[in-house]
Amino acid sequence: MRQGRYRFIVGALAGPIVLYAVLVLWPYLQSFYVSLTDWSGYTSERRLIGLANYERLLKDPVFWISLRHNLLAAVVLPVFSIGLGLFFATMLNVAGRAKKAAVQGVRGASFYRIVYFFPHLLSIAVIGVLWSFVYDPTGNGLLNGFLGLIGIDPVNWLGSTKTAYWAILAVIVWVSVGFYVLVFTAAIGSIPPDMYEAAMLDGASRWRIFWRITVPLIWDTVQVALVYAGINALDMFAIVNVMSAAGGSGGPNNSTQVLGNYIYLTAFEHGRFGYATALGVALFVVTIFLAVITLRFMRRDRVVY
């Protein structure tokens, strides 16, 4: 009955492994080599230049600006999107008027959940175009149009070095809150309801219930969400590429530049492939580093119930 076992294994794995090796593993492996070359332009010539690209990277102000923007986002975005997500998920699931000591969400909870989550399904590039119109520097944009109503002059949101970066972060929060609401809703749903009921009967305040029951019992999920949000903050390519001034330059004056976009520009606008790949390796190192320290910091005893 187990005839042809190895023939099946080889037959089943051969195609996927070849595809994966050629299109994923091989490029990843190659990138470490390419980062040590002076490969530029579309010629096949590439010379090994050792660590020169990495030396250059350390002295490159745009690299440091991009990295700072990514890391700042990795701190700011989780705080806002996960904070708001947790807040709304709690409201929607356990803040409702209770009937006979049963916990329930506010009225219309499922409507809110659907609305909040919808932006997450739209392509981030489409959202970037949409919000560029919202941020339009004249009074025709939605935001400046609104400020006009209350007598504030139009602000050049994406064109000013002071506001551009924060305007883009706000869009990312706008997109991602609904996703975390969904994730935390599922986590809260798995908490036994009698824990809430017991706490309520004991007269615990909402605030105490939130910190003593909800947060500890869904801490695993919060932790995964923090890592997920932090790693996402290291990308930000699509939104910056679409929303930054002058066609994806990461401007004005690199004020919205992030590593992903800088790698893209270095490779495909300036044709400096070796250097762009060294930047890619740097991004990879930062990603791993960030994942490790987040998990370290977040470690906390798991509550078993």
């Binding site: 076992r5 709304f88 932006p119």
Partner: protein
């Protein structure tokens, strides 16, 4: 929020508790709860408006004439003209971009699920030397940022004639989404009982028949979750098509809209651009409303596990 809908003293089955301290504690929670409820609705509603308003504004603007768009951000369209939609669909090529996206994503998701389930099934249920190595090779792909591979991938894709080709892009999507599919489906196949596969063998099914006719149908819920995640991911891809598809006839929708938004040719066709955005949102909205439950549970399963 109240723990009980009426004061306990009026309830004959529940005499007033003896401890006054506990009672007053509960009253406080009660009062705090009621104000919280008003606040929670205000917060929830505010966020819902913040989510809906930009989307609604985009839809309304696509019905306005360019003059109306340039006069006031808040005016309603004078007449509901569909001109801009026709222009967006035909002259601005949104129709073509839609078709391209549909071809790439449907082929990409089909291949990702097909190959991914095959690999996962073999890894999960056939112990053989090298089994773990193959599993870790695939899972490693989850931790590397695509930016690391993008330069070598660009050249690999060109030399294999996969650039500027819709099936080529679908193959590349498949390769990059395989780690995700393999990771989650392997866990899923491990949970399926051995007895049914064994029964199929005794009945004389070969390995392939057992996979396609017995195991794959049993894995349906897992396939749906992974399928939703992969569909949303591939539908929203931006970096890969931007780098690999330089021929405007091959653009996918996100890339097409982003390039329309910065191209001089369409810079003055405001209503056309808004119509393009609206057109790109409608199918997502329809699919979401129809498959809301599956999408939400699929997203949560993929994100939390």
């Amino acid at each position: 929020m109240s723990v009980h809908s009426q004061p306990r003293a009026l309830d004959p089955n529940h005499p007033v508790p003896a401890e006054p301290a506990r009672r007053s504690g509960r009253d406080q929670a009660d009062l705090g709860g009621r104000t919280l409820n008003v606040f929670s609705h205000a917060f929830l509603l505010t966020w819902a408006v913040l989510v809906i308003l930009p989307l609604l504004w985009t839809v309304l603007n696509s019905f306005k004439s360019d003059d109306e768009i340039l006069t006031s951000a808040w005016s309603l369209p004078g007449s509901f003209s569909l001109d801009s939609f026709v222009r967006a669909w035909t002259t601005a090529n949104i129709g073509q971009y839609f078709l391209n996206t549909a071809v790439v994503v449907s082929l990409g998701v089909f291949l990702t699920l097909g190959l991914g389930s095959l690999v996962a099934y073999v890894i999960a249920r056939y112990p053989f030397p090298g089994n773990r190595v193959i599993y870790f090779l695939f899972v490693a792909g989850l931790t590397f940022p695509v930016f690391l591979a993008i330069v070598p991938l660009f050249f690999v894709a060109r030399s294999l004639q996969l650039a500027n080709s819709l099936p080529g892009l679908a193959l590349i999507y498949t390769a990059y989404y395989l780690p995700f599919a393999v990771f989650f489906l392997t866990a899923y196949f491990r949970t399926l009982p051995d007895s049914i596969a064994d029964a199929a063998f005794i009945d004389g099914c070969g390995h392939w028949r057992t996979f396609f006719w017995v195991m794959l149908p049993m894995a349906r819920p897992g396939m749906i979750s992974v399928g939703i995640f992969v569909t949303i991911g591939q539908w929203n891809q931006f970096l890969l098509p931007l780098v690999l598809q330089t021929d405007p006839d091959k653009y996918v929708i996100a890339q097409g809209l982003a390039s329309l938004a910065v191209s001089q040719e369409y810079a003055s066709d405001w209503s056309g651009l808004f119509a393009g955005l609206t057109l790109s949102m409608i199918p997502v909205l329809v699919v979401y409303i129809v498959f809301q439950r599956q999408i939400e549970s699929g997203m949560v399963a993929g994100a939390v596990k």
